[in-house]
């Protein structure tokens, strides 16, 4: 019982905010991992919360509202954008399947051809079937759950296609693209040029994901000109690079 009382008072002091850095961090760990402690915290938040009514209002600076709108606007707009992109892809697939239904026999070969059409994009019926060209994609997501960049890699074409879904970086800053691999230093892939649709050259011997090797791409915010060999700046968006083709 004494233990539980101690835990309860620790929860109370965590809510009150009197714990020093070490105990605060410890309590935070408990909130995340111990349901009974997090219930105690919630009960204290409810008990003490009404005290905030007495805090006098203070108007925040005007620019805060636009900053917040940008932070949440991004996520709503981008989600719609992604939804649209997905439905465009679905429509394209539908169209190709319709062509296939009309013109081809429902045989295994025809199905393979349909797949090749879909993934290769350039083959036409009657020509010898070319091997599917490998393609990889990474959808880089920000802290707020919004998509910032979609990056497609075609190793054979030696280029990265970058679709930027967020506004240009602030003045005197650049976005820089990085490749992250477990156990290795981040490797820069260069400054992301401004704009919505860009190509970037693919570096020699770029690591590609394999079943047992995870590769992440990340975009950081850097001073104009990039990190220039210094430590990587704040990561704004990141996502796994995934193989898109079979």
């Amino acid at each position: 019982m004494a233990d539980r009382d101690d835990m309860d008072l620790m929860a109370a002091e965590y809510v009150l905010g009197t714990l020093d850095a070490r105990d605060h961090a410890r309590a935070q760990g408990l909130v995340a991992n111990d349901a009974s402690f997090s219930n105690l915290v919630a009960a204290w938040e409810r008990r003490l919360g009404p005290l905030s009514e007495a805090v006098p209002d203070m108007q925040p600076p005007q620019h805060l509202r636009s900053r917040i709108e940008a932070a949440i606007g991004g996520s709503a707009q981008v989600r719609n954008g992604v939804r649209e992109a997905i439905s465009n892809v679905a429509e394209a697939l539908e169209r190709r399947l319709a062509v296939w239904r009309l013109g081809a026999l429902a045989s295994g070969a025809a199905a393979a051809l349909a797949l090749a059409l879909w993934f290769g994009g350039i083959e036409v019926p009657g020509r010898p079937q070319a091997p599917v060209q490998d393609r990889y994609v990474a959808m880089l997501m920000g802290d707020a759950g919004n998509y910032g960049f979609v990056i497609t890699v075609e190793p054979k074409a030696e280029k990265l296609m970058v679709r930027c879904l967020v506004p240009d970086p602030p003045d005197n800053h650049d976005y820089e693209l990085w490749l992250l691999k477990d156990g290795a230093e981040p490797k820069t892939l260069g400054i992301v040029p401004p704009g919505q649709f860009m190509y970037m050259p693919m570096p020699d011997r770029m690591d590609m994901p394999e079943p047992d090797k995870r590769i992440k791409l990340a975009v950081s915010l850097e001073p104009r000109g990039g990190a220039r060999g210094q430590q990587m700046g704040k990561v704004m968006y990141a996502g796994d690079l995934m193989k898109l083709t079979p």
Partner: protein, 181 residues
């Protein structure tokens, strides 16, 4: 704004209604910024914390339930938690507190003087009214300014041990009074 309107705004925000979100911001940002700046003492840090909190509200309005308290108290808790986290992390790495002091009056808000109290607040104050003045003062300094035991000890010119026991005694009495009347 009435609690009921805030609840319906939160419900609309949970459905991704931007207009409702902006109305919620207009109705609550003064209070939330006031809470953050009292704890952090610096405008830019308070802005970051308030921004984080609203992004969290935008993404998590659906998590709100009346069991967590009033909407205002729920949002205030999000802001206080973030502000105190930031404060503790910052004092851990660098102690440069003094430069920002003096921007704000150091008088703690006085909930007892508030004319328009919610039911929850008046129940809490009824209980806080029963505890010693010393205990009450420690609780208020901690809640409104996010001070640690050491900082309260310095402000009230009392030994740290005394502050610790005042706070624990005060909290235990408030809990007993609120939970069992």
């Amino acid at each position: 704004m009435a609690e009921r309107s805030l609840k319906s705004l939160l419900a609309a925000v949970a459905r991704r209604d931007r207009q409702a979100f902006l109305a919620l911001y207009a109705a609550t940002s003064g209070k939330l910024f006031g809470i953050a700046i009292r704890i952090l003492k610096r405008s830019e840090m308070a802005e970051d914390v308030v921004q984080d909190a609203y992004v969290r509200v935008w993404n998590g309005a659906g998590d709100y339930s009346p069991a967590l308290g009033s909407p205002m108290s729920w949002m205030a808790t999000i802001v206080r938690n973030r502000a105190i986290d930031l404060l503790r992390k910052r004092t851990e790495s660098s102690i440069d507190d003094e430069s920002g002091l003096g921007e704000l009056p150091d008088d703690a808000p006085d909930p007892f003087a508030l004319t328009n109290q919610s039911q929850e607040l008046s129940a809490l104050l009824n209980c806080m009214g029963k505890i010693d003045d010393g205990e009450k003062r420690c609780l208020m300094l901690a809640y409104y300014y996010g001070y640690t035991h050491e900082e309260i000890a310095a402000r009230t010119k009392s030994p740290v041990g005394t502050v610790k026991s005042r706070i624990r005694r005060g909290l235990a009495k408030v809990r007993e009074c609120l939970d069992h009347g």
